[in-house]
Subunit: 220 residues, 2 copies
């Protein structure tokens, strides 16, 4: 919201803002976004908005059809499962690389994050646990030192999928979640890439299994 850097272009400001709005879940899936609405909302010209929309469409935040405008993204159940499966593969690979390449400092940070999660669980502080969980996965990603897979991971639209199928666990941590994180970190500390990948695959796979079990909301 803040008019932060005057050094940047209006285009990239609007891109950031609109992307944030889309990630926030302010729009239902498949909501039509008209250029006229966006130009008045962000007070930019159509040309600028169109460039922003091209980029968001390319990234998959919205879908675009010729002459029919742009809609917020909606995922079928099988698309959601496909994305979650890809996330499994990618994050397992990142964990494996992290076991090979994490620096001592990165391992120390992971350890600290895990301790924070244990404390949060002890106090039943869900919000803190969830923050720690996100930090843990981000830190594993960073420790992998694999820019291409990291970027790929970031473009998975996983947050949008979660938002649409929000009955997936991950709000209240599953029993066992903490132990799974411990197993991942242990494998990284002991420099065992295969074990780290397997542990991460098992951990992340729980989200997909949860989705497939209870089918999600009824949606075209």
């Amino acid at each position: 919201m803040v008019d932060s850097d005057s050094r940047t272009t209006r285009y990239s400001q609007v891109y950031e803002e609109l992307r944030t709005v889309l990630l926030s879940g302010a729009y239902e899936p498949n909501t039509r976004l008209t250029e006229a609405d966006l130009t008045t909302r962000f007070e930019v010209s159509r040309g600028t908005i169109r460039s922003v929309l091209v980029r968001l469409a390319q990234e998959g935040y919205v879908t675009s059809e010729a002459n029919r405008g742009v809609r917020t993204r909606s995922f079928t159940l099988s698309e959601a499962a496909d994305i979650l499966e890809a996330r499994e593969t990618l994050e397992a690979a990142l964990a494996g690389k992290a076991a090979e390449r994490a620096t001592d400092r990165e391992i120390a940070e992971l350890r600290a994050t895990l301790e924070g999660m244990e404390a949060a669980q002890g106090k039943s502080d869900q919000a803190a646990y969830s923050r720690g969980n996100r930090a843990f996965h981000q830190q594993v990603k960073a420790a992998a030192h694999q820019a291409t897979l990291a970027r790929t991971y970031d473009t998975l639209l996983y947050p949008l999928v979660m938002r649409q199928y929000r009955n997936i666990s991950a709000q209240h941590p599953r029993a066992g979640s903490l132990a799974e994180h411990r197993a991942i970190l242990l494998a990284i500390i002991t420099r065992n890439p295969d074990a780290a990948a397997a542990a991460m695959r098992h951990h992340v796979g729980s989200a997909r299994r949860a989705l497939l079990l209870d089918r999600g909301p009824v949606r075209e």
Copy 2:
């Protein structure tokens, strides 16, 4: 990905054309592309070109800096190695999924492609071998039935990397290339995901090892 509609927009035509040009290697890496040149070359207005460039920048075909325009992409050696490593992970994962999910028809197609490659090698027909090689990898990708990883694989910019560091083998097939393909297909046929992934990882890894061995051209 397919524009099923024969009625398409000028924007997407220019996008396809310019992308093809970039992939063809017509420009040296890091060549500046000015909007004025592109508008005259493709005979569209600046607005249209700008949208095309936003998309190409998002996909990584070009890099874009505020107020400084757009340049064709250039890869440092470490970026190239990073991309090749990611390709190893992704294609190994796809081969593993293919071993689980390939239909009989897809396996038959793979078999036919491999036979074509054997024939090409017998006749020392490099072009035919190379075509077969590309087809083989495309078919494995399709047989994996994993849309997200397949799309990710397609966005790797691997062709651009190869073009910049063109001393990597892959022109004249390495000795052993054919045997590696046979091993991959065998693992898929026998429904052995781990073996398929390992075989593919070994096969694809040869390109990266070749790059790292002879360092590529001297380039900042």
